[in-house]
Amino acid sequence: MNVRLHVWRQQSANAPGKMVQYEATDISPTMSFLEMLDLVNEGLVAKGEEPIAFDHDCREGICGTCSLMINGVAHGPNEATTSCQLHMRSFHEGQDIYIEPWRARAFPVIRDLVTDRSAFDRIIQAGGFVSVNTGGVPDANAIAIPKPDAEAAMDAAACIGCGACVAACKNASAMLFVSAKVSHLSLLPQGKIEGSRRATAMVAQMDLEGFGSCTNTQECEAVCPKEISVASIARLNREFLKASVESSH
């Protein structure tokens, strides 16, 4: 199959960028989206042109590195699918495909489709951890955890930190990411102890990084490749409110 790509090209962080058109020819429908880009890049290299820079690592939907805005939807048209797990059979012959980087002040473009997402790392450093003494590994069943709590924590822990929530949100808000991390840790007894401090510190860092605020449009939930629910945002809001009330005493 053949498709026409419109790709954001930008030499470096401060260089101006623009959409550039490429013909992707002789594409197999069984190729993944990233394999299709690899093929286009081989063609560019053969012609002596700069290949399109894009982020990727595991290519199996678990690392959160791939990050493409495809035809206006973060990670493309398929639900609960990362860009690397998307296949060309989801497109039709001759289709125009627009590929852009995540757009957010907190995620500046490094080159072409690659953005700097270290803002997420700094949010994790601010509170996305459980403080424990190092030493022997504790017995797995030493602390009993109710099944529903373990399930809910696991669902939140599925977040791979790709940033699709930020990319899709009209406010470039990181609330779904932060709330997934807060839920994942604060639902478990080990993480509950630092729950208040964590919620306050992570929200403060999120604001500092220049992400927008949540207006509850739920666009994030719709594009999240791991189907994190906006219910976790309600949980973060509760944690934050509780922490604020506690700290006022």
């Binding site: 852009e100 808000s173 220049g210 605020s213 207006t215 939930e221 945002i233 809001n237 409110l241």
Partner: protein, 222 residues
């Protein structure tokens, strides 16, 4: 004090202030509509209600000041967060699809600003009577006559109806959103809150729209 200011400075705290003031404003709208619907009982009922309100002037002023404070806080927070949100995306997408978000959720500032302009006109029109000095000659409390006369103007009636429809849109998203902002939107409550958001916004709008419709159809007259 420092904890209140750091709460409000945070985007999450600021949004909670919007939610709390939103609840207060919805409460006011319900009470205001209940009063207005007395127009269907006739001039005596409506004017008596208006006069009774003024008889309790100190209480009325407490309510007015509270309402004004909520309105101002709501608007100041809305402008602050909207600016923050625009700042957070300096480069727009050339191609962006909305997958799930509703039109009302994406146009909250627009619907809010139209409601604001309506409220300002409404105050100038009926409370201060700047736009219609002739109303001053009607005597103090002939609210009924002011109301019926006003809706005979097609411009006033149109602006009123437009504002009410946009208010409905504002609340269609706003009521569900406030529960989420306060952390109450979860589990089995979600369908109940969604139904309540749709129900309250549509019922309020129908209530407010029933008055110009009744006047247009001649069911209420001078």
């Amino acid at each position: 004090m420092t904890s209140i200011s750091s709460f409000y400075r945070s985007s999450v705290g600021c949004k909670m202030v919007m939610a709390l003031t939103g609840i207060g404003l919805v409460g006011f709208l319900c009470a205001h509509l209940a009063g207005n619907l007395l127009v269907f009982k006739g001039p005596e009922a409506l004017n008596h209600y208006a006069r009774t309100l003024r008889d309790y002037l100190p209480i009325l002023w407490v309510l007015r000041v509270g309402l004004l404070a909520m309105f101002v806080l709501h608007i100041v927070s809305a402008i602050r967060l909207t600016q923050l949100n625009r700042w957070a995306r300096p480069v727009a997408y050339t191609n962006k699809k909305n997958v799930r978000s509703s039109l009302s959720s994406r146009t909250m500032m627009l619907s809010g600003l139209v409601v604001l302009s309506f409220v300002l006109y409404h105050l100038a029109h009926l409370t201060f009577r700047w736009t219609h000095p002739e109303f001053r000659e009607l005597g103090e409390f002939d609210v009924y006559q002011m109301l019926v006369m006003s809706f005979h103007s097609p411009y006033v009636a149109f602006f009123y109806c437009l504002s009410i429809v946009l208010l409905m849109s504002h609340l269609h998203h706003g009521i569900v959103s406030l529960f989420q902002s306060l952390g109450l939107y979860h589990g089995g409550l979600q369908p109940v809150i969604r139904a309540a958001g749709a129900g309250v916004s549509v019922l309020l709008a129908m209530g407010f729209l029933s008055i110009p419709i009744a006047i247009f159809c001649g069911w209420i007259g001078l």
